[in-house]
């Protein structure tokens, strides 16, 4: 299996050689919250680089220092030592205006409406804009499916609606750097797919993304690089040339589509007729066929034509268990407490 390790987070990829958009150098932070308890050193001199235009996953156990790192980048916490540089320069107000942030389980004041929240966000991020504020808000709310809820109070929003608004809030000002802290928390399967598509769209637009999540399969499918923190230290970085080159067995599919209403022959005919991407594995399981794909876009390409042909998509998603298991085996040392 090790022979087949794919270069998922390739250390020789183009983005490694690019100058980092954001770099943290020798960051240290100690919290002294309680005078009766010893101080807690949260970050122990970490160096992190986030290449421009790439999606970098920041991974680690609870208490590893991920959220502290993110809050330092956002200016919510000041480092005791070290520096945070944006394109090699210290942060200025103008550069802060180009950051979008989606907090874990984002909360907004319950008495406000979605459009009021976004209006203030635009006013605070005074970037040059061609469109009028009202137009921008209306377009953004439409893009996240909240166009009919623009004047509804936030306190009446469901968890999924809140996440949609959080996404709109993080991206409405067109950021160059997007920091996402556990964006998949509390989302149903459809919501997760939607969130993933939004992240992919931003990535395509050239936005630099920092994705902080516990969900390793999401990291695998979205990120170009991975950096693992443990107890306030960087223990693995795929940007480092000395580290192992690949992570996963390339022969294993990472996404699946469960289709019922036809057999393998019917699906093969559909593939030829609609010029759909080939599957990597196909297993008839009872009344359905599970098609396995290596990449996300190939899996998605099967959804609409299958439905249009009268078949039923029973399930679609990541093969989480397989991916997670492989990652944990591969990073056994890095993740051990």
């Amino acid at each position: 299996m090790t022979k087949n390790l794919a270069k998922n987070f390739a250390s020789d990829s183009a983005s490694v050689n690019k100058a980092p958009l954001l770099s943290l150098q020798g960051i240290e932070k100690t919290f002294r919250n309680d005078i009766f308890k010893p101080p807690v050193q949260s970050l122990k001199g970490i160096d992190l680089n986030f290449p421009e235009g790439a999606c970098t996953g920041l991974v680690g156990h609870n208490g590893a220092g991920k959220t502290t790192t993110i809050r330092m980048i956002l200016g919510l916490i000041a480092p005791d030592r070290g520096s945070i540089l944006y394109k090699g320069q210290n942060f200025s107000r103008e550069t802060r205006a180009t950051i979008g942030y989606m907090a874990e389980s984002a909360r907004f004041p319950g008495g406000l409406s979605a459009s009021e929240i976004l209006e203030t966000q635009l006013a605070l991020h005074y970037t040059g804009r061609d469109k009028k504020t009202v137009e921008l808000i209306s377009e953004k709310l439409k893009s996240v499916g909240l166009q009919n809820h623009s004047n509804r109070r936030i306190r009446d929003f469901s968890k999924g609606m809140m996440q949609r608004l959080a996404w709109a809030h993080a991206t409405i000002h067109g950021p160059n750097l997007l920091i996402l802290d556990e964006p998949f928390t509390g989302l149903d399967p459809l919501g997760r797919i939607t969130m993933k598509n939004w992240i992919l769209a931003e990535k395509k637009r050239g936005v630099t993304i920092i994705l902080c999540t516990h969900e390793l399969p999401q990291i695998m499918s979205l990120c170009d690089h991975i950096q693992i923190l443990r107890q306030g230290k960087l223990v693995y970085s795929s940007l480092d040339n000395k580290v192992r080159g690949g992570l996963l067995d390339e022969t294993l599919p990472r996404y699946f589509v469960d289709i019922s209403g036809t057999g393998l022959d019917g699906l093969e005919q559909l593939r030829v007729r609609k010029k759909l991407p080939s599957w990597q594995t196909a297993h008839p399981e009872g009344f359905l066929v599970r098609l396995g794909f290596r990449d996300y876009t190939s899996a998605v390409a099967w959804l609409e034509p299958s439905i249009a042909s009268g078949y039923v998509i029973v399930r679609f998603g990541d093969d989480n268990s397989a991916t997670e298991e492989q990652l944990l085996v591969h990073f056994k040392e890095e993740f051990s407490q």
């Binding site: 919290f31 919250n33 502290t68 809050r71 956002l74 200016g75 919510l76 916490i77 000041a78 107000r93 103008e94 802060r96 205006a97 950051i99 942030y101 907090a103 389980s105 984002a106 909360r107 907004f108 004041p109 008495g111 406000l112 009021e116 209006e119 203030t120 966000q121 006013a123 605070l124 991020h125 005074y126 109070r153 809030h169």
Partner: protein
């Protein structure tokens, strides 16, 4: 500069809307109105002293209702967003942190002023209905000074909110208010047996932290109808100093605070 002002304006507007739509806003209006009606009812029990009863009972309710709300909102303006973490979304922006603090206070002050105007309007209506007249200059100033007290209490609450958790901040602000109300009364009744050091301390506190400055009831009771402007400006100067001192200190503390 202009961008900073725009950011502040939007934050103020947002804070005002949060308070205006707070679940306790309308209950407070109802409670304040009920107190005014009850005071008006009580003033009908006597012909000679109707004004004294109306203003003694009514203004005590008016002062307490508004003061409590100002403290509650002032503290919550800071501790609520810290508690539910919504603060991250606003502070993670190019605007300096003090803009957020000043915006929060401006929204609070505007909401308290609206509340004060509603109450004063109700009082004017009651006076017109039951006593065939409007409030005189001093009566208007008496109520106005109590609204200024709310603004100061809101600023003290805001400062305490930046320093501590909700319950601690509420307790300390309420204690500070009570101290400001009783210290001048204690200082005025000190007997000759009090030690000079103790006397100096009490008189110093009473001088520096005197919330009775907002109370013009004594002037009302003495039958005055117009306000002494130099007296009012001295009271307002003290209120302004406390208010701006609290705001500057809040901004300074908040600027250095780690939002963990």
């Amino acid at each position: 500069m202009i961008r900073g002002f725009i950011a502040w304006w939007h934050l103020s507007k947002e804070s005002f809307l949060i308070l205006r739509r707070d679940r306790i806003f309308f209950p407070i209006i109802v409670a304040g109105t009920a107190i005014a009606f009850l005071a008006n009812l009580a003033s009908g029990w006597t012909f000679e002293g109707w004004q004294k009863i109306l203003f003694d009972v009514g203004l005590a309710g008016f002062r307490l209702t508004g003061g409590m709300v100002a403290i509650l909102w002032g503290v919550r303006m800071i501790t609520d967003p810290l508690q539910d973490r919504s603060i991250e979304l606003r502070i993670a922006s190019p605007s300096p942190r003090y803009t957020w603090i000043l915006g929060r206070y401006a929204g609070l002050a505007l909401c308290l002023l609206v509340m004060g105007l509603i109450f004063i309007g109700i009082w004017q209506g009651l006076m017109a209905l039951n006593h065939n007249g409007t409030m005189n200059n001093l009566q208007n100033w008496t109520m106005g000074m109590l609204v200024v007290e709310w603004l100061v209490l809101g600023a003290v609450g805001l400062l305490m909110g930046t320093l501590g958790a909700f319950s601690t901040a509420m307790f300390v602000t309420l204690a500070a208010w009570v101290l400001g109300l009783i210290a001048p009364l204690v200082a005025a009744t000190l007997g000759p047996e009090v030690e000079p050091t103790q006397r100096r301390i009490i008189e110093f506190v009473a001088q520096m932290w005197n919330f009775q400055r907002f109370n013009l009831s004594d002037q009302l009771d003495s039958g005055l109808v117009t306000v002494n402007l130099s007296d009012i400006s001295a009271r307002m100067t003290w209120a302004g100093s406390v208010l701006f001192g609290c705001l500057i200190l809040s901004a300074w503390v908040f600027q250095r605070k780690d939002l963990t």
